[in-house]
Amino acid sequence: MLQAADLATIRAIITRAKRWDMLFALLGILSLMVGVLTFTVLFVDMAIQGVPRLDYNFFTSFPSRKAANAGILSAWVGTILVMLLTALAAVPLGVAAGVYLEEYAPKNWITDIIEINISNLAGIPSIVYGLLALGLFVYYFGFGQSILSAGLTLALLILPVIIVATREAIRAIPQSIHEGSYACGATTWQTVSDHILPYSSAGILTGVIIGMARAIGETAPIITIGALTFIAFLPPAPFAGDPPAGLFEWIFAPFTVMPIQMFNWTSRPEAAFTINAAAAGFVLVFMTLAMNGLAIYVRYRLRKNIKW
């Protein structure tokens, strides 16, 4: 029989246990807040320092020895061109590899090696990719310290991200879609190109955007291939100038990108350059946030719209 005293003890135990529950939930919220707070402080601090510096001239001027005249023209143009090459190289390769592994790959040791290898590649530090590019693209292939070298380096870096995203997007498609297509006599490629790729495109797009957002902020591998920090000219536009530049001459041009410009300004002791660094950092964070936000939105829409 339960005595009144036992009941009181049990109630006390329950209250104590509930208190611990509360405390832990509080601890969880506090830990989350550390992240939220850091991010807010970082963003606001940079905005306060940098936003007054953001005017038309900042975007249309080359870097300069005078902090007040310096701008990010060569940096943002460089970033866009490098990203273009990165996307052109990484997206077809990554999607093709993902499709192969999900739709074609037989279960054998070659497939196992490829899979283990991809997860390994994702864990290799970005600076090691920089060393690879330095040895391979810059010196062995002789591309030099060009937009091409940088674009290919970043493409290798985000390849695992795109492969994994493609595979996940494909895996989310129900097996019955495959079976329906095969039952109508379609070949594997017809199934892939008419059904699998269109249905997984939103998922793949999310992965591509996240990969590109990562590439846009990568500094270490680009420094390692020896990108210059002081570039006061733009890559040659096709058919412009005298003698006219070739269609693809710009891919061999020296360049700088946003994170390198920011690193350069951060590492200078003068306070005026620190403000420039804050402004460049603000633009950079804004770009990555916009891309990540877009990816989150695409995923959200996808989850909402598709009901298999």
Binding site: K18, F24, G28, S31, L32, V34, G35, V36, F39, V41, L42, D45, M46, P92, L93, A96, A97, Y100, L101, Y104, A105, I114, N117, I118, N120, L121, G123, I124, P125, S126, I127, V128, Y129, L131, L132, L134, G135, Y139, L156, L159, T187, W189, A213, R214, G217, E218, T219, A220, T224, G226, M262, F263, T266, A277, A278, L284, V285, T288, L289, G293
Partner: protein
Amino acid sequence: MSANASAPSGSLPIGKGVSDRLSKKASRHVKERIIEFLLFCAAAFSVFVTVAIVWVLVKESWVFFEHVPLSDFLFDTQWTPLFDDAHYGIMVLLSGTITSSGVALLVAIPLGTIIALYLSEFAGFKVREIAKPFLELLGGVPTIVYGYFALTFLTPILQSIYPDLPGFNLLSAGLVMGIMIIPYVASLSEDAMRAVPMALREGSYAMGATRLQTALWVVTPAATSGIASAYILGISRAVGETMILAVAAGMQPNLTFNPTEPGATITSYIVQVALGDLPHGSIGYQTIFAAGLTLLLMTLAFNLLGYWLRKRFREVY
């Protein structure tokens, strides 16, 4: 069959129709094979990348190790490759890497684990839907921006608490690095915890356990392998992180395990040399490949450890 049945009774048209279809089918087969081969090449390309990384690092380090014996590289206590009296003791750079990673992990592992437990076991659907993308954003901030933050914001604050702190130090860089790593640890651990079957939780609740008791004594043990690989990923990130250290920790090689001192890490040393004007082929230049090889071997070791842990502690339901 149906095509045959509906075809005119003359023998020629039937035969022709069939062979047409057959030949079309054959060409279709060839096309399929070609496409499959191309896709296979794309997948195999990733293996080529790994081979290329190993090949470049070993080939370029070879030049270095022809001049510097391995014992000097491993046991010398000075790292002065750019001086006349050159010493190549990787230990010096390793100490910086270990110290900064240690500080970062002291921040990231407890906070990341608590956040994961909270999101997976305590938080409601709404909180999780907002917090997860936010953590992703936190992980997406470029590391150079974190470096700027450590140098211009956190270091002055730390200096007002501890006035002897130098302007460049491993502590501030490590702390910010820890915050950068939280999303990786939290997100992967949470995935592992959420993969634990609901029945285990229900059993625990049915026995009268509270949420915290269930989280700590049922969910965590069941998710050990996933949590361990989250930690391993965190360690790899910390060891390979470059820009935060290059900006905020100074780049002076310093054999110390004291986080309040400036120091160089393997990664920040590579940046330092790449920014300088050493000619390709000189011993000073080749050091970065030897340093990179060390880094690659370290991350490979962690990857293997993670793989082993996953196999060893995996709970199959």
